[in-house]
């Protein structure tokens, strides 16, 4: 909060309100200083009377119109890395969906020739893999957290989501159509497999390069 705001003249309060037009980050860093600058200029005009105050407001509004959009545009340009991350995530979703459909069709054909548990395990590895990798990709590419923490968070979120999904399935589907014990075991194993794969990769990534 800008100090002395409560006792400031109306013009200074109004200018402080206009600062809301700037991006929040910029306002936090420079808002108080900009208000101070306006206050200094306002004091300058005290002796000169109404005309110079009017001129000050004219220049200030012109400055506001020019500089506020500029700061917003700059913020958007800086957001390029987020846009790139979102594009990567979008592309990954498409690849996952295609992989899921193709693998599903292939497994449907092969299911009769496979031992019971192996079929469930492959289904689970594909399905859990899609979920786990997608969550990990979002956390990692948006740099929300360090890679090792992203792996742990992906594991926890995937496990929670699958747990909720299976609980809902268990409550609405008739008993004879519910997933078998083998399917539950496959899901747990798949979570474990995907966690180990990512954790190993994260540990290697975290190691400093070997010095010769």
């Amino acid at each position: 909060m800008i100090s002395g705001y409560r006792h400031a003249p109306f013009s200074q309060k109004l200018y402080s309100l206009f600062l809301i037009l700037y991006p929040a980050e910029f306002r936090r860093e420079y808002g108080a200083h900009m208000a101070q600058l306006f206050r200094d200029r306002w004091r300058e005009t005290k002796a000169s009377g109404g005309a110079s105050r009017l001129r000050l407001w004219m220049y200030t509004l012109l400055d506001l119109i020019q500089s506020a959009p500029k700061e917003h545009l700059e913020k958007l340009r800086k957001g390029d890395s987020i846009m790139r991350a979102l594009k990567t995530i979008g592309l990954a979703i498409i690849i996952y969906v295609v992989a899921f459909v193709v693998t599903g069709m292939f497994l449907e054909k092969m299911r009769t020739q496979m031992p019971f548990f192996l079929g469930s395990l492959i289904d689970a590895i594909v399905a859990v893999g899609i979920l786990f990798n997608l969550i990990f990709l979002i956390l990692w590419s948006t740099r929300l957290m360090p890679v090792a923490r992203a792996v742990i968070a992906s594991g926890i979120v995937s496990a929670l989501m699958l747990g909720i999904f299976l609980a809902i399935i268990g409550s609405i589907v008739p008993a004879n159509a519910r997933p078998s014990g083998g399917a539950y075991l496959s899901i747990v194993l798949s979570l474990f497999v995907w966690f180990i794969v990512h954790w190993t990769w994260a540990q290697r990534k975290a190691q400093p390069p070997a010095t010769v």
Partner: protein, 125 residues
């Protein structure tokens, strides 16, 4: 051991500077100043023709800090008269080189304009 990082950037990459940027660098060339002082100095340099509003001034300062052409200064030149909430800025060594390169560029431009009789030739040259 502490070692100053050698500046590898070329000042020419920053040219031409916008008028606001060049005037801010000029204002800081002789001493550290806070925002209001910079604004006053720019107005004085330009006979009141360039008036930097708060948004333009602090937007430029933000970019100059990011490019490391200026830095915040801990020294308070007018400690007794000063408001401690004010931030002072000063030119970095690289900022000084960029301002000098822009001044040279403008000097060459003026020379060309003079050669083409756009402005009167200086007496005695």
């Amino acid at each position: 051991m502490f070692q100053l990082k050698k500046e590898s950037r070329n000042p020419e990459e920053f040219l031409p500077l916008s008028p606001a940027t060049f005037h801010i660098l000029l204002a800081l060339a002789d001493r550290d100043r806070h925002g209001y002082h910079i604004m006053q100095e720019v107005e004085r340099h330009t006979d009141g023709k360039l008036r930097l509003g708060p948004g333009t001034l602090y937007g430029s300062i933000k970019r100059l800090l990011a490019d490391r052409l200026i830095e915040e200064s801990d020294e308070r030149p007018d400690a007794e008269l000063d408001d401690e909430r004010r931030r002072y800025y000063r030119l970095t060594e690289f900022g000084y080189r960029v301002a000098a390169a822009e001044a040279e560029r403008l000097q060459r431009l003026v020379k060309t304009a003079r050669a083409k009789s756009l402005i009167p030739k200086v007496q005695g040259r």
